[in-house]
């Protein structure tokens, strides 16, 4: 219980820090960077739900991110829909596409799934790139409006947009938290652990994988729509493999299959990227090997590493305690034996 309390305190402090951040950091650039990081985090949570908790590597998620973003752009600019209606529709549409992709893709296993989703991602990229009349092709898509006011709430200032994105991030984290510690979350983890075992335990793996995949696509499309309304300019590049790679890097550095991983990883890597900005296009010279080395030598990431360390310590403490107890019992027994012997002899 004490651990839970402590955790809650930490969480409250973190949220408070996030809320106070724009008030204390006057530099608009940092607020901008933070907002972008939050958007990435939402997408990475999407990836984490499916890759981290359900065990399938989807390489189409950058594509879903782009569909969410472009759908918002097209619905607001070309179709002239009200912002929030377009926002909801963009997420819904992407999720629907996710259902269809999932229905086919999830029948395939492991490698086939990764290859299949890689190809789906590439198809999405090609379509965005080639369908000039709809997406603007390589020239890009401009003029996406900022989020519309909701009653008295206006999202015109960077700080207001920061809070809007933070709000969505917190909702996503909250959902993930509830999910992971539920029967449904445990079901996903069981599938990740061994699909055969899960099947023989009476779990419909297809149904559960599909639900997890669709929710994960929904998170990613949400991030995409937020990205479109925040950056307000889109190019086909956001559907590209390198975006997928960024998501993966954030997730792996932070810790795949952990709740804190996406936040930790995204913050750390975007911060490091800032420091390494002089590398620009060549940052992959560093991040490529970093990711590869990480997966070989430290596949659990930062959050995963800490969790393991804690578990190990807890286990060690328990063993120590048990050993102490056992030796105390042994001592007591031998004392008793001795006194009995004395009693007999005496």
């Amino acid at each position: 219980m004490a651990i839970l309390e402590k955790r809650r305190l930490w969480l409250a402090a973190l949220i408070a820090a996030a809320i106070l951040f724009p008030l204390f950091v006057a530099n608009g650039y940092y607020v901008h960077m933070m907002t972008i990081s939050f958007i990435w985090m939402i997408a990475v949570y999407g990836l984490n739900l499916f890759a981290g908790y359900t065990g399938y590597l989807s390489l189409a998620h950058a594509g879903f991110f782009a569909i969410g973003a472009y759908a918002l752009g097209i619905l607001t600019v070309k179709a002239g829909w009200p912002f929030w209606l377009a926002f909801a529709a963009a997420c819904l549409l992407t999720t629907l596409i996710g259902v269809f992709v999932g229905l086919v893709a999830l029948r395939t296993k492991e490698h086939f799934f990764a290859i299949y989703t890689l190809c789906v991602g590439y198809i999405i990229y090609l379509i965005i790139d080639k369908w000039d009349s709809l997406t603007g092709g390589v020239r890009g898509f401009i003029g996406i409006p900022a989020p519309a006011d909701i009653g008295p709430l206006s999202f015109q200032t960077p700080a207001a947009q920061y809070y809007l994105v933070l709000f969505f991030l917190l909702v996503v984290v909250w959902i993930m938290h509830r999910l992971v510690y539920s029967l449904t979350g445990r079901t996903y983890i069981a599938i990740r652990n061994s699909e055969e075992l899960a099947l023989t335990l009476g779990i419909s793996t297809m149904k559960n994988k599909l639900a997890s995949f669709v929710l994960s696509v929904f998170f990613t499309s949400l991030a995409g729509a937020l990205y479109a309304s925040f950056i307000r300019f889109l190019g086909p590049d956001i559907a590209y493999v390198s975006v997928m790679f960024d998501f993966l890097t954030y997730l792996l550095v932070g810790g795949i299959g952990t709740l804190a991983g996406p936040v930790v990883g995204t913050l750390l890597v975007t911060f490091l990227s800032q420091q390494l900005q002089f590398l620009q296009d060549y940052r992959m010279l560093i991040f490529g090997p970093v990711l590869t080395l990480l997966i070989i030598f430290y596949p659990h990431g930062i959050a995963g590493g800490i969790i393991r360390l804690k578990a190990k310590r807890g286990e060690a403490r328990r063993l120590q305690l048990e050993a102490r107890q056992a030796s105390a019992e042994l001592a007591a027994a031998s004392r008793q034996e001795r006194s009995e012997r004395y009693a007999k002899e005496g």
């Binding site: 029967l183 445990r186 983890i189 335990l201 779990i203 639900a211």
Partner: protein, 254 residues
Amino acid sequence: MFLRVERLTKRFGGLLAVNDVTFSIEQGKINAIIGPNGAGKSTFFNLISGLHRPTSGTITFKGRDITRLPANERAKLGIARTFQTTHLFEQATVMDNVIIGHRLRTSSNLFDAILRTKRHRREEQACKEKAMEVLDFVGLTDVADRMVANLSQEQKKRAAFALALATDPELVLLDEPAAGINPDETEGLEELIVNMVQRGLTVCLIEHKMSMIMKIADRIMVLNYGEKIAEGTPEEVKNNEAVIQAYLGGSAIA
């Protein structure tokens, strides 16, 4: 008839893994399947539990044809199984592993999980209670919140039993439960299996440890190259000429 397998055949490409096997699992008994390596025993289990589809033949369970039923539906009907390698999630506690065993008897979904509905709370409680119950039955209550990775091989096997039992099965298929376990511990597992049958369960197991089979099995089927070569009580099987041949002079049967 409890579980009946009729003329079951499984072909992998050109290889006949199970060839025209007819066999019944008798209710309330310990049924054993033995045979040399590569005899098709594991494939046979996979066919019964639904992980593989047979090439031909039928499987009926309590009068119902389940030949085309997927594995998860069979589990719901009451067929549970363990694997040679336990497949447990090593980085989680025993309790966390076993809780999921009762999931098939619950119905809460994604929304229940996110909204923490009454149904979810009730079912989560039910799963926990079930897990405690089966852990108590297999004798692992003490290590319930221990990490699986830190358990002994024998404890892992017991945890895998518990997981199978948490599904509320009528038939439990055990794939080499005593593999990798030392002789002392094997006795403990024998006792546990006998206990399961006394509780009204039906057991079917694959095992290489002949002493164990001869001691606890009520009935034995012998497979060789995917074909059934003998069937009967331990006594009958032990003296069967074909079986002795299959085990190269019979020295393996003690």
